[in-house]
């Protein structure tokens, strides 16, 4: 039970990133893999500022701001230098590794139990309950905010940009600016997840981001499959299902660990799970035709 509750809490922490990847991949149709870098960046900024005893809201804001800068960089490389979106993301992600290492000063920094957001915000005695409730609160606030933004005129313009660029240009929308803003929002949310996970595991590690984009992609793909299957059109419902996808993916990983899979194999399991999520529906569909 406790085992699944921790998987649930971790899934909630990862939902912020999942929602960010949903924005880039499903709304803007940009394959953004800055994620690995901006996730670690969120953890790194959090570690540095917590050690300097900054107040928690400032720490979170700074982590998200740092992530958004990474997103803007990828956006600028993509739109100004006309470099393929995938390559732009790889360029920024790779560059960020050095920046993260230099900022952090060493490869691993432990965080003080008393300082983490789950202890400062959580009302309970029990750590696991605090982790669950605080991450749930954050995800609810974030989803509500995002659902609102996507329903505004600005949000419509964002969604239209990914759907038909000729249309948006003709309607006075600067597509490049929109993409940069989208990447900024997505990577700010990824950095938030990096910050939360670092606080959740009580350390920031320079390698914590390796392959994290696959976790996000897998979660969003599970969510998206559910969205298509249920035929959901309302934006807030779609966001909710994406969060569910993130949690589901963590539970799958947690279950595979309980079944005796070696923890060192977790990246392989992740990769195979994503491959299955993407591949199996295509195989089934081909047979149906």
């Amino acid at each position: 039970m406790i085992f699944y509750l921790t998987a649930l809490a971790l899934g909630l922490c990862l939902s912020a990133m999942g929602l960010g990847i949903f924005i880039t991949m499903k709304i803007f149709r940009i394959p953004d893999i800055t994620t690995d870098g901006s996730y670690t960046l969120g953890g790194v900024v959090t570690a540095i500022l917590l050690l300097r005893e900054w107040p928690m809201p400032a720490v979170i804001a700074a982590a998200m701001a740092a992530g958004s800068v990474a997103g803007v960089l990828t956006g600028l490389v993509h739109t100004r230098l006309k470099i393929d979106a995938l390559l732009s993301g790889i360029l920024v992600m790779t560059g960020l590794y050095s920046i993260n290492l230099n900022l952090l000063g060493r490869s691993n920094v432990p965080l003080n139990q008393e300082n983490v957001i789950f202890s400062t915000l959580g009302p309970f005695e029990d750590d696991i309950l605090n982790e669950f409730s605080v991450s749930l609160l954050i995800v609810v606030v974030l989803s509500a905010l995002l659902a609102y933004v996507l329903r505004t005129d600005f949000g419509l313009a964002m969604r239209a940009t990914g759907s038909s660029e000729t249309m948006t240009r003709a309607l006075g929308i600067n597509n490049n600016r929109m993409k940069i803003i989208g990447l900024a929002i997505a990577n700010a949310m990824t950095a938030l997840t990096g910050s939360l996970v670092a606080q959740y595991q009580r350390f920031t590690d320079i390698n914590m981001g390796i392959g994290i984009v696959l976790v996000g992609l897998g979660s969003v793909l599970i969510g998206d499959a559910l969205i298509q299957w249920l035929g959901l059109r309302r934006v807030w419902l779609q966001l909710l299902v994406i969060v569910a996808g993130c949690i589901l993916f963590q539970i799958v990983l947690a279950t595979s660990l309980t079944l005796g899979v070696d923890p060192s194999m977790i990246k392989l399991i992740t990769s195979l799970a994503v491959m299955a999520i993407v591949g199996i529906p295509r195989l089934v569909r081909r047979q149906a035709i």
Partner: protein
């Protein structure tokens, strides 16, 4: 309203597939003019239209709209004067957004898109009434994704969308080329209504000879990147379908 002077456009300059799309083209279109633009494939009509809209920036020459030099202004900023309907019915709408969402964005063509929810009951009512005017029964499907509609339905809606916000210039690039005759009729009737009601300056590209004699008050024919004929309404009255056909023969 629109002044093009010495417009030149060369695509793929210096490469084996170099194409001169426009050669020193001059064209002045007065306010309220409805120009029908004809010419065979590759004559430069669409490039000329794109130079006006800003989708193509000319290699040489100046573009003026309402007296303002807009030669280097990007497409998305010219939208404050220019509304467009594309040849491809998929080009003018965002398929994943609902009919209502598409109309909302069209209603903000000349305005910034702000962080507030703009679709209220009054807006829904306006859109429903406008769409009911088409007589296609789409007024009860406002929440449907526009991608689920047929090409003809989408093109009719795109035409209506162009009139959702203030516009001076309407650019129609073969809006009915991909449509069946009945849908084409609906789209062109809608266009005529909008043009007349708002006294728009209009440029229509068409390959339909009957349409090119029927609509507008001026006929401009292009050949090999140049304007070959430019007839006013009186001169066009004298023109027969055979004459027009002969223009395409050479």
């Amino acid at each position: 309203m629109i002044e093009l002077s010495h417009i030149t456009k060369v695509f793929n300059r210096g490469e084996v597939n170099e194409v001169t799309a426009l050669k020193d083209v001059d064209l002045t279109i007065a306010k309220g003019d409805f120009v029908v633009l004809t010419g065979s494939n590759g004559s430069g009509k669409t490039t000329l239209l794109n130079v006006i809209s800003g989708a193509v920036l000319p290699g040489g020459g100046r573009v003026r709209i309402k007296g303002e030099d807009v030669t280097d202004m990007p497409e998305h900023r010219r939208s404050r004067w220019v509304a467009r309907v594309f040849q491809n019915p998929l080009g003018g709408t965002a398929p994943e957004l609902s009919i209502l969402d598409n109309f909302r964005l069209a209603a903000l063509r000349t305005q910034p898109k702000r962080l507030r929810i703009g679709i209220d009951d009054a807006f829904k009512k306006t859109v429903r009434e406008k769409i009911a005017g088409l007589g296609l029964g789409l007024e009860n499907k406002l929440q449907q994704p526009i991608g689920a509609l047929s090409g003809g339905q989408r093109q009719a809606l795109t035409m209506l969308m162009s009139a959702m916000d203030h516009t001076d210039i309407l650019l129609l690039d073969e809006p009915t080329a991909a449509l069946d005759p009945k849908s084409a009729e609906v789209v062109m009737q809608t266009a005529e209504k909008i043009v007349q009601a708002q006294e728009l300056t209009t440029v229509l590209i068409t390959h339909n000879l009957r349409d090119s004699l029927r609509y507008g008050n001026r006929l401009v024919h292009m050949h090999a990147g140049k304007i070959e004929y430019d007839l006013d309404a009186a001169a066009r009255q004298q023109l027969k379908m055979e004459d027009l056909y002969a223009w395409f023969e050479r």
